[in-house]
Symmetry: C2
Subunit: 659 residues, 2 copies
């Protein structure tokens, strides 16, 4: 077992380096993440354009945004279309504590080990973090310690603006929807038709609506009154609206709001008398929960994104027709707002490994996975012998299942290895240890040796190993070491994991040591990838099953529920989707990440529980259905003492207090 | 008078070119703005880094964001602190029609003429446009025709993310405020104090609050109960809150909203019984109306911005104390969110003149001027013989008055020349022509010769000339030519302007011809700058006057009101400000742009009217007071057929339909 390093690590092998050799100067005790980021950046990071070129990107395929980050165009996908691609590795985890078990850190540490230590061509692919958690409780998401993306303050702030673009597109559609309802409440069919069509006749997006309605006429003069009304009046039933506004901030008071209370937002009362308020109760979500973000995660290119954004459903008309972004004239403008966002952002790790940061869909109502586009480009760039390490959010029951059944189904890519990250702390919690809570001192059991508790908690890990093997991938367990973990505790996990289906289980210490601390893990991943073929990969379910059958498979095969029940509302929604073209969509479960079951307190490997589907929603643009099991919160709150309290600039204008 | 050009313009003089000579290939009829942008971009724009270096920026002072735009650091301000600066020219206008009279286009055209035609070192400084109008009625704001900023689609979309940064900072503060009120409603002083101070004691931002409260203790253990409560309980009076959330979209239903309607946003009822909702009626503004944007427009550097953001007032405590961003622990985090936004963005015109795009404060409740920082850097870079052309929003009664009295007071810069843009169309409207409305065909009087109507309407122009001369600058009138204007009409304006104080009045045709069409204007500006000294510049009023005296001077000297009246609320607010340290602030009037008076229908040069001040608000961070005269709308609405309907990508993934 390796000990803490306070000296420079020397790479053990560097056959085909993707970047110049670099000896990571680690310090003990490990400084704060932002301090490490500053220290390493001030040593002189290689310009990001040199990282891009060593990765094989041509100058026209990389657009630098300052010295440390830049956009990768989608052209390598066509240029390298006939090149074989690399080994695809997904990093996932056991059900975590609220403190997180270091999946991002392991993703980065593993990539550093593969790249800087083993000399493999390697790219890490991760999500862009929301600013909500960054300034709230959780802090940044660039990894941590000596396994992080640099500079972490750029990673954690605006980056290249993708989340802002998602917000702008989402909110343009919300404004279009709300204002359209208002104009429809004020105007006759004739007036609406005349104003919308205007002098220039039907434009691109209007023709899409005409096609949807089956109206073949293209000369507005020839329209009957009925056709004018059908075209111009969307006649939205406000009770069916599922499109929320978004903000990338933890503002809990926006979860439920009433809009349209202004003196000018009134309409004529159809019953006569005073004008009535054109108000409505609705809500905001955090930006990363927008379907636009889910689309960004799953799209293949700009043209595909145009189609997906246009067919997003915001609600239904009173006669039951879908109302889409294109019906509101918005699909094109949203795509234009997202045209830079479709390109992944390239950064680098502490050991100069390339990192693609792209998309950040919320893991509880969307896929929780970074983008298809980034993984695809990266796999082409690393080539046949190379590795792409991508991260799936939440635990393997949610994030990795969605990775395989939704993301890989969309991309056609086949992973070979799943790395399951576990910590002694989380295993002890699953073994029956007391509650772990952010901001509260850990109970002593978590900092003192207790092999029995660890053993008991391994029930959680073992089930995740079994689950991932159902997808035909090799499983490597990474025990992410904390300094209070003892050799006996770690040995116990390794033994149990390896005797229960893991190809290998290894301790890693990349937080303190960088890639050197994940070298064993990297070797295990390289070896595991040799004993598996891409063709071994399989989805959990066939998309041709009925919606209820698909939900059933996930709940029983992955969560191990005894039964799945549905509210009347959910059944009604499923019945609608079965006949509206959404029946082939894969399922994106919205469920707690803290347990296999729907009860966050049920630790370990619960059985015999029920999954109650409260509601089922459709993301018609992203292309999945999301059944909601339990309470799902789409705007986190701020604590009494939020993280932003410490964030400031110092006397030299440098950022301090990001963590 | 020059005619339309359909051939290549050849520069007449090019003594000290800032960019390589370039012959602008103009077409007739003039294509759409986006078509021109595409045509000229596809001819091969010089990389923006070459524009930066020809401007004298060192490589470390310029951060490219892709090939066509980049950030200029603030270091030229120190590096060139002892270098003499250039000639400062402000472009303003008469009271416009709702269609706009081409101030931005004239700013860009004049810069093209000074740079590419007369060979002067020249920079244009303009605002970043809001996405609201871009997708609503107005369209883009990059100038137009052959006088525009390229590429216009980058200019009009996210640019380098500054507006998004303003939104993120604004909304972080809103969330902090709302959540703090909620936590204060749920927790005792002791609990609040314990949680806020935490284990690590008082941090930077908390010490600011201790200093404000006059508490000298720094050890939390020594705090009395009274001191704990005073520190931790802001005790905000909800009725005093002036801080709104923002979105950069025309979403009128957000003007007035009720927040906190969720099932979890409840607090214990102090009177016993069921929990009560923690809701509140509030509103959204468009992002550019945020005080954060006003701060960006007036700040001098990152450190100054930190102080300004921290002292922004969001409301008052029940005992009448100001509650600031720093009291909420937010000033530092907001600054960090704004750290890139403080740097101007460099782009180029159709004729390769450098353009700095920076800040875009709303002209009706803020200054409506681009940033102090950009103008300062540009003036240093062009040097003593060079020119900086900056634009002031709205008509000269608002935009240029604020430019002189607020922006120049903040920067210490002294303009030499004011260019007043007029059109025959707007002058005819002031002369009594029928109403001009967006989307409605112009009445015939606007497209046929009517010298008498033009003459009558010149009353508006003449008063703006008189007004600008009060500031000690030279006035040049630019008659922005439309193709229906006749030589006699233009001659009439030139004659009246020159016999009423203008140094010179010239016709210009830069929309159709680029810089060649503004060459006469450029010569007039160069000549005017020679006959004036910076020391001639003077403010309209002394900051030491009382608030009412300052308002009085503006209303009587500039608008020519007979009297100024105040509501009881306004008088009360003024009384508060007179004693709270805000009495020295300059005045930023919120008034219609369509008339000298508060009645948008009062055209020409109205007299004997009353200005009624409904309310007076303070922007303590930006550093001005804004008296509100009339209805001010801070979220525009969308029309039935908004601009976004036409925006899309074509088969090649290129943006179409932006105008």
């Amino acid at each position: 077992m390796s000990s803490f390093s306070s000296t420079t690590n020397t790479p053990t092998k560097n056959t085909t380096p993707t970047t110049p050799p670099f000896n990571l100067p680690t310090k003990h005790p490990v400084p704060s993440d932002i301090q490490i980021s500053k220290d390493l950046t001030s040593l002189g990071l290689p310009p990001i354009s040199s990282i891009a070129s060593s990765l094989g990107l041509t100058p026209s395929e990389f657009i630098p945004w300052g010295p440390h980050k830049g956009k990768v165009t989608l052209s390598p996908l066509t240029r390298l279309s006939s090149t074989p691609h690399g080994n695809y590795v997904v990093v996932t985890g056991i059900n975590p504590t609220p403190l997180g078990e270091g999946k991002s850190t392991t993703t980065i540490g593993l990539a550093q080990a593969l790249g800087a230590r083993l000399g493999k061509k390697c790219v890490a692919c991760i999500r862009q973090p929301s600013q909500g958690p960054t300034f709230g409780v959780k802090g940044g998401a660039a990894g941590g310690g000596y396994s992080q993306v640099l500079p972490m303050e750029e990673f954690n702030l605006h980056l290249t603006g993708d989340i802002h673009a998602v917000g702008a597109a989402n909110n343009l559609l919300a404004a279009a929807l709300e204002t359209r309802m208002y104009h429809e409440a004020c105007q006759s069919d004739e007036a609406l038709f005349r104003r919308i069509v205007g002098k220039n006749g039907f434009n691109r997006v209007m023709i899409r609506r005409l096609e949807k309605l089956g109206i073949e006429k293209r000369n507005p003069e020839e329209f009957t009154d009925e056709e004018k009304g059908r075209f111009a009046r969307l006649d939205i039933d406000p009770s069916t609206i599922t499109w929320n506004r978004v903000l990338d901030v933890c503002d809990r008071h926006l979860r439920s709001v009433s809009v349209g209370l202004g003196v000018n937002e009134t309409v004529k009362n159809p019953a006569g008398g005073d004008r009535i308020q054109h108000d409505r109760t609705t809500g905001f979500d955090i930006t990363v929960a927008s379907e636009v973000m889910a689309v960004l995660g799953l799209t293949s290119d700009l043209t595909d994104m145009r189609e997906r954004l246009g067919r997003m459903v915001v609600g239904y008309s009173k006669s039951g027709l879908t109302v889409t972004a294109d019906d509101l004239g918005c699909g094109g403008a949203m795509t234009v707002l997202m045209k830079d966002a479709v390109m992944p952002t390239l950064m680098q790790t502490a050991e100069r490994t390339p990192v693609m940061v792209h998309a950040g869909p919320f893991a509880n109502i969307a896929t929780g996975n970074s983008s298809v586009v980034a993984d695809k480009i990266a796999l082409k760039l690393v080539g046949e012998e190379g590795f792409v390490v991508t991260e799936a959010g939440f635990g393997a029951d949610i994030g990795a299942e969605k990775f395989c059944d939704i993301k890989c189904r969309a991309s056609g890519l086949k992973p070979k290895v799943a790395v399951i990250v576990a910590t002694i702390r989380a295993l002890k919690m699953h073994g029956g240890g007391p509650q772990v809570k952010a901001g509260v001192t850990l109970a002593r059991v978590y900092t003192e040796e207790d092999v029995g508790l660890v053993r008991k908690g391994c029930s959680n890990l073992v089930r995740h190993i079994e689950n991932m093997k159902k997808f035909g991938v090799q499983v490597v367990v990474a025990v992410n070491r904390f300094k209070t973990d003892t050799p006996l505790e770690i040995e116990e996990v390794v033994k149990i994991a390896e005797s229960n289906g893991a190809y290998k289980a290894v301790m890693c210490n990349h937080w303190a040591e960088g890639g050197a601390g994940a070298e064993d893990l990297a070797r295990a991943v390289v070896d595991a990838a040799k004993v598996v073929k891409e063709e071994d990969f399989k989805y959990l379910y066939d998309e041709g099953l009925t919606i209820k059958e698909k939900i059933d498979v996930i709940c029983k095969e992955i969560y191990r529920a005894k039964e799945v029940t549905y509210t009347a509302l959910a059944l009604e929604q499923i019945a609608t989707y079965e006949t509206s073209g959404f029946e082939k969509f894969p399922i994106c479960m919205a469920k707690t990440q803290y347990s296999f079951s729907c009860d966050p307190a049920a630790k370990g490997a619960p059985v015999d529980f029920e999954v109650k589907i409260r509601e089922v929603r459709a993301c018609a643009g992203a292309g999945f259905l999301f059944p909601i099991a339990g309470d799902i919160m789409t705007v986190p709150g701020l604590p009494t003492r939020p993280g932003f309290y410490d964030v400031d600039i110092d006397e030299d204008g440098e950022v301090v207090g990001l963590f």
